[in-house]
Amino acid sequence: MQPDPFTASVADRVTDLNERYLNHAAQAVLKRALTDDTVGRIAMVSSFGAESVVLLHMLSVINPATPILFIDTQMLFEETLTYQQEVAAHLGLTDVRTIRATREAVAAHDPDGLLHKSSTDACCDLRKTVPLENALSNFDAWITGRKRFQGKTRATLDFFENEGDTRIKINPLAHWTPDDVQDYIINNRLPRHPLVAKGYPSIGCAPCTSRVAPGEDPRSGRWRDQDKEECGIHFINGKVVRGPILKEEPMNIIVTDQGFGQDDWTLAYTTPDELADNSDAPALAIDLASDADPAVLAGKLDGIDMIRIDFPSFADGRGFTLARRLRLMGFNGRLRAKGHVIADQYAMARRSGFEEVEITPELAERQPWDQWKARATWQDHDYQNRLRGAV
């Protein structure tokens, strides 16, 4: 029996909803959230950021008159404000409500607009968390675009969450991967936030959002160089999370034919761009991105002792060709693959010219040495080497 919407606790309703929608797709969850009596009065909260258009589009198909709360922190990029107007018009959304901090509150706490420099938490609180809390007080439930892949704090996200026993929070995209988001945007020909093409895969306020290099975590551009992952609107175990969450920086593991080992390379890495400036360094080590053109190192290879090629994803095979090309160009130094390389790729890495692979402790734990060892006999069964023969 379903809980009575008027008498059952938020916790009971959330448990029931999660059970009922356990195996449903995002659209089904959203559709039922908008029509299910046990959910109650509902709004969507949207930043009109890099991926927001997905949920907004789903919502527009089901009911474009659903209230949408857009928080204007008055610190947003100009592009976000323009994009908000375009998307609302494109999708025919009829009830976008812009939420701002009161003029009095801003005057009292951040008169010159520099609070973010002294305390990002206080700034988020003033401009985002408090106005949203106020706006949500009229609703029984709200919809967010949060996804599990977005970080450790979101890794166990459910479709329905109990927020402080007062409201239900709905995350229809909880199980989506970055590819799902991109496929949806492409397939439905949705307008993209103009900053995405300029290197901002996750977009917040202008002072606290920076560009992200290819291969970096998409959210690493948010509050860069701070131990902050969430703005404070989001809760962990029902509580607002504030202040720094301590992050450990465990040592990576180096995989060679002999086994797992510690990293014995202690010198700093430079990028090809910085190479000219460091020509006097004792041992040159280069970090090469997966989208690098190996030709930039032509003529400079003799002075380089170590090249470390990034693998942002195990599915991105550019690093194998980069390694092979560097070897064919005559590079004889240490060649290391770093990042998401899985045990099943070890033989490919070695045959392409890598000597070693640098992996995270997490991956090393999930795929211990015996799984790499199974591919450490990489000289065997090698068609290509057989066809090329010794030159």
Binding site: D293, G317, T321, R325, M348, H381, R386
Partner: protein, 558 residues
């Protein structure tokens, strides 16, 4: 037939063991689902609409009777008693269980077969002319080169995680039966001014949602340069191909966006480096492969029995006229067994039919069979005196449909009946068209006509190169079929042009009927094929037949 070397044998066994381990590691959590997916794909295992699907390679389309019997055994033991032959010379099993797959791969290895690189973003099974080694027009048998490419591309360490899948086709004949211009790389054997044979190398062709005709990147490539040249192309693509959007990741888009000249410069530059890394051993290995594809030891026998039967039996005559073509040896014929019985699923064969075809090959075709990209089975070397016996046995096995190259010899993808990507059904449309023209008894009157049907924009049914192409789409939850006209997958390659608005599932078969009846009225004589008439007259009279109401409206307005 090529026999596995010890090296091949050990490689395939090792690969089966690796996959067995990967399945176990997926179950124990060592591999995430994301990580397991490309590993199962590069071993031929897809997750389809209802279940897993295992796609098995038939390298360059050549099978022995022993291998065909093993395919039948696998269909019977681990599937529902049938298999589906595909447009890329593969066979697919639609109902395997994940835990059975390593045993199925092991059973394949027992007969020197595998499912390696039949899926995934890697170099796929190399396809070739189904008449290779038998065709009258052939410059040279392309299969030794295809085998060389198979070995080179297998487990190539650089190319297992490409931006997208990569398909190579090779033909040894000027008449292109391998659709080389619709492949990522197409190789067409050619002669240079000095009379030497080599390859014309075509790059960046493809069908799918953005159909493109391949472009010639090298007019004449000496045969000894084949592997380093291929390696240069794929390495350029691996670095340059787009990875941000899977719909723009194929090499056809890379060539389109960067321009053929830029790609050619990069490839030629890389080729110089790659060429130097080959010592020449590959050519010695090629020389060892070649004798594995000998000419058959031809039978010397009279063909009177054939002539007598041909003159006496109209059903046999019809089958011979439609389903056989000239062989290099005048006493021989190449016989195609149609897997397109009117009303059946194109490309499907039961285990009993596979066994019967294997027996026929053993008795009458020098133990060889071929799988064609048109989803039929070929007996490549048949002495004409055996044709009456073959035909009689095919009739008994329900395999004697005389429709090769005709209106009911339709290529169709699995469509919404099996495929998770499909947006419309394609098999039922193929079945209805075939049944309709069988009822009208017009099939032989219509003559050569290729209809190809895809159930979604990904174009697995090759509709872009059908003389008549049908593309099934989903328009607001309703199936809608668009028609393209004038496509051609041969040496006179053309991509079909869209005729106009689509048709519903109840309108599509009548529309095709109107179109073909119009052709019968329009043609100059019975020798002018649909495609020739279309090329002579242009699209307008055919569009008028498809959209009679629109035509009336126009006349009223005038």
């Amino acid at each position: 037939m090529y026999k596995y070397s010890d090296f091949d044998e050990k490689f395939v066994r090792e690969r089966v063991a690796q996959f067995r381990g990967q399945v176990e590691r997926r179950i124990d959590g060592s591999l995430t689902e994301d990580e397991f997916k490309p590993l199962r794909l590069m071993n031929g295992l897809y997750l389809q609409l209802h279940a897993y699907m295992l796609r098995v390679a038939v390298p360059y389309g050549t099978l022995s009777s022993r291998q065909m019997r093993q395919l039948a055994y696998i269909a019977q033991k681990w599937d529902k008693g049938y298999g589906h032959f595909t447009t890329r010379q593969n066979i697919q099993y639609n109902w395997p269980k994940l835990n059975d797959v390593p045993d199925m791969l092991s059973a394949l290895a027992d007969v020197e077969m595998h499912a390696i690189q039949t899926s995934g973003n890697t170099i796929r099974n190399v396809t070739s002319d189904q008449f290779a080694g038998a065709a009258e027009d052939e410059i040279e048998d392309p299969r030794p080169y295809a085998e060389l490419i198979r070995q080179w591309s297998t487990d190539h360490p650089e190319f297992q995680f490409l931006p997208r899948k990569f398909k190579i086709a090779i033909t040894g004949s000027p008449n292109d039966r391998a659709v080389v211009k619709a492949h990522d790389i197409g190789l067409r054997m050619a002669r240079n001014d000095a009379g030497e044979t080599g390859f014309e190398v075509i790059v960046g062709g493809g069908l799918g949602r953005t159909p493109m005709e391949g472009k010639v990147v090298r007019e004449f490539l000496p045969k000894a340069d084949l592997l380093p040249y291929l390696e240069a192309i794929v390495s350029v693509y691996n670095l340059l191909g787009r990875r941000d959007n899977k719909y723009k990741a194929r090499i056809k888009i890379t060539v389109h966006e960067n321009g053929l000249e830029t790609i050619r410069d990069l490839v030629e530059q890389e080729f110089t480096v790659r060429r130097a890394a080959f010592s020449g051993i590959d050519q010695e290995m090629l020389a060892e492969i070649k004798p594995a594809f000998p000419k058959p030891t031809y039978i010397q026998a009279p063909t009177d029995a054939f002539t007598t039967a041909y003159d006496a039996d109209p059903v046999f005559r019809s089958w011979v006229d439609t389903n056989t073509v000239a062989h290099q040896n005048g006493d021989y014929a190449i016989a195609t067994i149609s897997l397109k019985k009117h009303g059946a699923t194109p490309g499907d064969a039961t285990d009993a039919q596979m066994r019967e075809m294997a027996d026929l090959a053993e008795a009458y075709s020098h133990d060889e069979l071929r799988v064609s990209h048109e989803q039929n089975i070929v007996l490549p070397h048949v002495h004409k005196s055996h044709l009456p016996a073959i035909h009689a046995r095919l009739v008994a096995a329900d395999l004697a449909t005389a429709n090769v190259g005709l209106v009911s010899d339709i290529i169709a993808c699995p469509g919404m009946d099996y495929c998770a990507l499909a947006t419309a059904r394609s098999i039922p449309v193929a079945q209805e068209i075939a049944t309709r023209f069988d009822e009208l008894k017009l099939e032989h009157e219509i003559g050569a006509l290729k209809i190809k049907i895809s159930g979604c924009i990904n174009a697995c049914g090759h509709h872009h190169v059908g003389h008549i192409g049908i593309l099934g789409l989903d328009r607001a939850g309703v199936e809608n079929y668009q028609i393209t006209l004038g496509g051609d997958g041969t040496e006179t390659f053309a991509i079909g042009q869209r005729a106009g608005p689509g048709f519903s599932d109840t309108e599509i078969v009548p529309a095709i009927e109107r179109l073909i009846l119009a052709y019968l009225d329009l043609r100059e004589n019975s020798d002018e094929t649909f495609l020739s008439a279309y090329r002579r007259l242009g699209a307008d009279p055919f569009k008028a037949a498809l959209y009679p109401d629109a035509e009336k409206g126009r006349k009223h307005a005038a």
